[in-house]
């Protein structure tokens, strides 16, 4: 049973197969056709919906997400808002009115998704007003592709919607909505839920704590783990693979904790990027900045750090940064927990140290507290600045000690079958002042220790040149004379 609120109305949908998406639930089961399918891969934003979940203030906080890759069973106990749920009769919501006034729809197919991203932004402006900087607008709208307008009128709509009469959706009149959602939510969180789907073989379990999770893993090690589903769900929509036995990590309390210790932070594997962002921004500025270029807000609201690691893609954005930071992993499972450095986790292309047969899973990721003299640079290269996958990502950490570089960590994504460090280049810099000679040696070493692939995102030669040039960028950024007189890289890509 999927029990949730849709545009203020309680919905209970029974016998929904586990591999159903929220978009399919809306369009095929509930006849709500306003939400569109543009790509069914979470890349275009046409299916954007807004999801309300209880917050600490007793209200609901809304985030935007791609309905095409959200498992329908994960919408349980949430308030799902779609484009049909905004206008109050003929009175348009400010997000809608501004879009009309700014002539911001042409073909209109992306428009419902854009309206929902604007609604989400508008709602957060109502509850926590903040300047609509370019960065904020990009975060709000970077995951919504529009092929017609060129975005200028959409930007204008985002900037002017606050000036429109604040027409609330009808459901916002319901004083009990938040508490109703809250009680659905806490009931479920207390119990955990298990859905056996009657009509088709299939299970979708949402365990509430790690003990239950371990037990489920022991019973069904072959069941797939799902958290944000932002990559897993492409197996359904793109490859039509059946996913009929799923264990949801999003309700497991222990996997959702950020635990601060004097040495650093244990980040639960199911913590989303959106939750992680403030921590990263405060303590790892370059890592935090990467978040602005990591997929889209729709994805960051769902995707998890644990997923990015378990996925073991050679072009995942975070693994190189974790390598540079000497992060550690806590693996857990029916046979107990163990710790390992992230560096030992990636074995080969999409092959990890996780013992999946025995039901092991990633429990948490440890980010060591940066030392005061530690420096971190993270540079991502991609065809498009927003919502693109790295062609090369370089993450560089080091300390400066009496003018020489120490503990040099140079990690790269997109350069090998796994994200990995460049020991030769690191050795060339270790204990050296950041001179042209030292970096020249590092660049030579780098070219010898990677043989990157050519693929749709870039050629081998480009990857080598670009990775090597990122080391040159690093050198220039350490060169005070250069740095004060000229720019090392474009503002939009800085950090």
């Amino acid at each position: 049973m999927i029990d949730f609120y849709l545009n203020g109305q309680r919905q209970q949908c029974a016998d929904i197969p586990p591999d159903t998406s929220v978009l399919e639930l809306l369009r095929l089961q509930l006849g709500k056709n306003g939400t569109k399918e543009g790509c069914a891969s979470g890349d275009c934003g046409a299916c954007t919906v807004s999801i309300g979940q209880p917050n600490d203030q007793g209200g609901l906080s809304y985030h935007n997400a791609n309905a095409c890759i959200i498992p329908a069973h994960q919408i349980k106990d949430c308030h799902l808002v779609t484009v049909e749920g905004l206008a109050r009769g003929d009175a348009l919501h400010p997000a809608q009115a501004a879009m009309v006034d700014c002539h911001a729809s042409q073909c209109g197919f992306c428009t419902p998704g854009i309206v929902m991203s604007l609604f989400t932004l508008h709602h957060s402006q109502q509850t926590q007003p903040a300047p609509l900087t370019q960065q904020r607008l990009e975060a709000a709208l970077g995951g919504n592709l529009c092929r017609c307008t060129g975005y200028r009128p959409i930007r204008d709509a985002a900037l002017t919607m606050q000036d429109h009469p604040d027409t609330h959706p009808i459901w916002a009149d319901d004083p009990d909505l938040a508490s109703n959602v809250q009680s659905l939510y806490s009931d479920a969180t207390k119990k955990g839920t298990s859905s056996r789907i009657n009509e088709s073989p299939g299970r979708f379990d949402s365990p509430k704590d790690i003990a239950t999770l371990r037990e489920l893993r022991r019973q069904r090690p072959e069941a797939r783990l799902v958290a944000g589903a932002t990559d897993l769900w492409l197996e359904v929509t793109q490859q039509l693979k059946p996913l009929d036995d799923l264990i949801d990590l999003r309700r497991v309390v222990e996997l959702n904790i950020i635990d601060e210790t004097p040495e650093g932070w244990w980040v639960g594997a199911a913590v989303t990027y959106s939750r992680l962002e403030p921590l990263l921004a405060e303590h790892f500025a370059a890592f935090g900045h990467l978040m602005h270029r990591f997929a889209s807000s729709q994805i960051r609201n769902r995707a998890t750090l644990g997923g990015n690691i378990a996925n073991a893609s050679p072009i995942g954005d975070c693994p190189p940064v974790l390598l540079a930071l000497d992060a550690r992993l806590m693996l857990d499972g029916p046979n107990g927990a163990r710790e390992m450095p992230v560096a030992d986790f990636f074995l080969d292309y999409r092959k990890t140290a996780l013992n999946a047969e025995e039901g092991e899973f990633i429990r948490a990721i440890f980010l060591p507290r940066p030392e005061t003299d530690q420096h971190l640079k993270v540079w991502k290269l991609s065809k498009r600045r927003e919502d693109d996958i790295s062609v090369v990502l370089g993450a560089f950490a080091w300390r400066m000690e009496n003018g020489v570089m120490r503990d040099v960590h140079l990690a790269f994504g997109g350069m090998a079958a796994i994200p990995r460090r460049a020991p030769g280049a690191e050795a060339a810099l270790e204990g050296q002042a950041p001179t042209e000679a030292a970096f020249g040696a590092a660049r030579s070493a780098l070219r010898n220790e990677f043989q990157p692939l050519s693929d749709v995102r870039g050629s081998s030669e480009y990857r080598l040149v670009a990775a090597s040039n990122l080391l040159e960028r690093l050198r220039l950024s350490l060169d005070a004379d250069f740095n004060t007189n000229a720019e090392v890289c474009l503002d939009a890509y800085a950090h």
Partner: protein, 822 residues
């Protein structure tokens, strides 16, 4: 007036308020439309109506094909597509497909009762592969099942055996081998060889201009229901309903009148649904007729991207002679279009590339050759600009190259080469009658963008900045308006007035977001003196207006607007005749204004409300329905001589783009864009502004981040938005000043002296590419301009940078041709 909106005190206030919202941020894109001012007295402003579906768009009530209700027993179709690019289909065993859960019908080429070739103009496009496979993604069979998922899963059960042959994927090699889909065409004016011999300087260079995926957000989709006779009703996301009607009828082997095709709106078209929406309708029609059930077909994004053609990639070459001032004397241009496996529209597309190989410049005595190369890829097709943009790229490359050669700023050389008195005839013989306007537009945007001041600032900046280099470029656009296939330049309209006074107008054009229906309603309302709300369009239907042309070539409003005007004015004149007689009014000077018929002036003035007039006419048995027709005058083109006047007129514009490039990484940003664009007297400035801005960004995407990549087996590997990157929100330039040229009505008698606006602005995006080259040229002190193929991805920019820093002789761009080679 810099933009749509006057910079009045109020809007300045509005701007300040927005700046507060936007604190700490860069300048706003441009003045925002101020709702309170929307209906100010300015004439232009009064036409800035919202899109007719705007409210439906934002509330999710606008229905696209997959949103339409269908009977509960409707079938869903999935396609079996070829996994290889070239070969012979030796075995297609569909037994397991037929037995898969939910499957109702499976069809292949043997199940087609009528035509099996659905080539739109020339044959060559089999509906299903019979024997020879010509590209990855070609349709082998279709499955109809009770759900979309069941149909897609069943497809995977097919046993397919193919005798695979090597695929031809190199258009240049194909051109050299004369492997072409249509014969080569040549346009020639004067003695180009002599001109090259006599010219003080000769340069030659080549370029690759990449293709472009349409990436309409709504993929190809249709819903077909069987009708009670032998035909079908087709609901389709489609730019050319009449052609789909024809092809469906031919495939079913039924008369055309058995097929009705309806298109209410598309979720984007851009040319991709001109010819390539039809095959799916044909397949769904077959299923609907065979099963007697409604049939839906929509392509999943990756299949859509593989199965359908794109903007043609082009390989272009020039050899041009010019004087010391950089003024072209003549030369030779070759454009090779990569057509894919079949003709589709490539005849006309490569023609249009040839027609635009001059852009806004006189080529002098020149020859332009267009080659239509065949490769084993999807059949490339119409895409906004229709070959024109690819043709322009070669002359804009030449402008930059020539400027470096003669040591001048590229803008100076561009201005010297613009069409002007004495140099006003194109290489295909058409006189450019508004050449003064091109010069004016260029000079105005040169001033409004502070081109020269910024040029100096950029030179100073670049001299001091070793890594980040800035670039600036102004490029003009002159784009020919009319279908070059003369017969397509016709349109019809059907106008009904109902007895409550409400008006329904239908016409042959389709709505794909460009605001055509809004403009047509405006035309009818204006002719009948009514509020826009009183006029509505239902949908484009082949049983309302027959034998229509595609909504393409930017001609939608030009052609259908005139037809609608014809219909409305016929009805108006009929009502005037009626009123003169019925009310005994003076027929002279009768007019329809603000919902009234007005006759006479001053004391003798009589006013009759529209509703009353319509009622009276109805009771007196006056027809309240009229049809209209239009055919563009004056145009002609003779392919035998390669000359004529193919275009009714030209639309113009110019853009100045500034970029900054990181020469270590190849990353770049577009920091400022200034555009001035000519739409004649705008029919709707808000909609036209949307076309200009959206066209520019789409053109920018084509030349920068949108990269089509095939593997060496001919499989498209950039087959979705995760690998094919259209511009995103943050790619909008922080400063984006866009202005519609005021006070220059069309010199030709187009609809209210407006100009077509769909395609021309796309080519304003060329300024971004040229600015990137400008930034790179700074690395060699502007001695030459590096070759920069497109899309100019960060990879291409970085590799061009590396080549400039470590030059090998072959890496430079244009080379001065030796005497012997001339």
């Amino acid at each position: 007036m810099r933009t749509l909106t006057d910079v009045s005190l109020d809007s300045a206030k509005a701007r300040r308020e927005q700046k507060n919202h936007n604190k700490g941020d860069g300048p706003l894109a441009r003045d925002t439309m101020d709702a309170a001012h929307e209906h100010s007295s300015r004439h232009a402003r009064t036409h800035a109506y919202a899109h007719e579906s705007a409210i439906k768009h934002v509330t999710g009530r606008a229905a696209y094909i997959d949103d339409m209700p269908a009977p509960a027993d409707a079938l869903h179709i999935a396609l079996g597509l070829s996994p290889v690019a070239h070969g012979r289909l030796t075995r297609l065993d569909l037994e397991k497909v037929k037995r898969a859960p939910g499957v109702v019908d499976v069809i292949t080429v043997v199940d087609v009762p009528g035509h099996t070739d659905v080539g739109p103009v020339f044959p060559g496009d089999p509906l299903f592969v019979d024997d020879e496979i010509s590209y990855v993604g070609q349709t082998l069979f279709a499955v109809a099942a009770t759900s979309y998922k069941a149909a897609r899963l069943a497809v995977k059960e097919a046993v397919i055996e193919i005798d695979e042959h090597s695929a031809s994927l190199d258009a240049v090699a194909a051109a050299e081998a004369n492997d072409v889909v249509r014969p080569t065409h040549v346009q020639q004016r004067g003695d180009w060889q002599q001109a090259l011999e006599d010219a003080p300087h000769v340069l030659e260079a080549e370029q690759f201009v990449g293709g472009q995926e349409h990436f309409y957000l709504e993929g190809q989709a249709c819903l077909v229901t069987p009708s009670e006779d032998e035909g079908v009703v087709v609901y389709t996301s489609n730019q050319h309903p009449s052609e789909t009607q024809k092809l469906v009828a031919e495939v079913l082997d039924v008369p055309f009148h058995a097929v009705v095709v309806e298109t209410r709106r598309m979720g984007g078209g851009f040319g991709g649904k001109e010819t390539q929406a039809s095959p799916w309708a044909c397949i769904a029609a077959l299923i609907a007729r065979r099963t007697g059930r409604a049939a839906r077909l929509r392509l999943p994004r990756a299949e859509d991207t593989r199965a359908t053609g794109k903007r043609h990639p082009f390989h272009n070459r020039y050899r041009l002679g010019f004087d010391d001032q950089g003024v072209i004397q003549g030369g030779d241009i070759i454009v090779i279009g990569d057509c894919g496996y079949s003709p589709d529209l490539s005849e006309a597309i490569v023609d249009r590339a040839m027609f635009h190989a001059d852009n806004a410049y006189s080529l002098g005595d020149a020859r332009v050759t267009g080659i239509r190369a065949r490769t084993h890829t999807a059949s490339n097709t119409a895409f906004r600009g229709f070959g024109g943009p690819q043709g322009m790229m070669i002359i804009e490359a030449a402008m930059d190259d020539i400027a470096r050669q003669v040591g001048e700023d590229p803008l100076t050389v561009r201005k010297r080469n613009l069409y002007r008195a004495g140099r006003d005839v194109t290489h295909y013989g058409q006189t450019v009658n508004q050449h003064g306007l091109i010069a004016e537009i260029v000079e105005r945007v040169e001033r409004s963008s502070d081109y020269w001041q910024r040029r100096r600032a950029i030179s100073e900046y670049n001299a001091k900045s070793p890594i980040i280099k800035k670039g600036l470029s102004l490029t003009p656009v002159k784009f020919g308006i009319s279908f070059t296939a003369k017969h397509l330049n016709q349109a019809g309209a059907l106008l009904h007035v109902y007895t409550d006074g409400s008006v329904m107008i239908n016409h042959g054009g389709t709505e794909m977001g460009q605001g055509l229906h809004t403009k047509i309603c405006q035309v009818a309302a204006r002719e009948l003196g009514l509020d826009l709300e009183q006029v509505r369009i239902s949908a484009t239907r082949t049983d309302k207006v027959p034998n229509t042309s595609p909504t393409a070539a930017s001609s939608g409003a030009d052609l259908n607007g005139m037809a609608a005007r014809d219909a409305a004015s016929k009805l108006r004149e009929r009502l005037f005749d009626f009123a003169a007689n019925h009310y005994e009014l003076d027929r002279e000077d009768m007019r329809l204004e603000n919902g009234e018929l007005i006759a006479g002036h001053g004391e003798g003035e009589r006013r009759i409300a529209w509703g009353e007039l319509v009622q009276a006419a109805y009771l007196e048995r006056i027809s309240l329905s009229a049809k209209g027709f239009y055919a563009t005058p004056l145009i002609h083109y003779d392919r035998a001589t390669g000359s004529g006047r193919p275009f009714y007129y030209f639309a113009h514009g110019a853009a100045v783009s500034e970029v900054e490039v990181d020469t270590l990484s190849g990353e770049y940003r577009i920091t400022r864009v200034d555009i001035l664009h000519d739409v004649g007297d705008s029919l709707n400035p808000a909609i036209d502004m949307g076309q200009v801005e959206g066209g520019f960004i789409q053109g920018m995407g084509w030349l920068t981040s949108e990269e089509l990549k095939w593997n060496d087996k001919g499989r498209l590997i950039s087959d979705g938005p995760s690998t094919y990157k259209i511009p995103a929100f943050g790619d909008l330039p922080p400063v984006f000043n866009v202005e519609l040229l005021q006070g220059h009505p069309n010199s030709q008698a187009s609809i209210y002296r407006s100009k077509a606006v769909g395609e021309p602005p796309l080519m304003l995006g060329i300024s971004v590419w040229s600015a990137l080259r400008d930034a790179l040229a700074s690395l060699v002190d502007y001695r030459y301009c590096p070759r920069l193929d497109t899309p100019a991805t960060p990879e291409r920019v970085l590799m061009a940078t590396e080549a400039l820093r470590n030059p090998a002789p072959s890496e430079t761009s244009a080379v001065e041709a030796s005497d012997e080679s001339v």
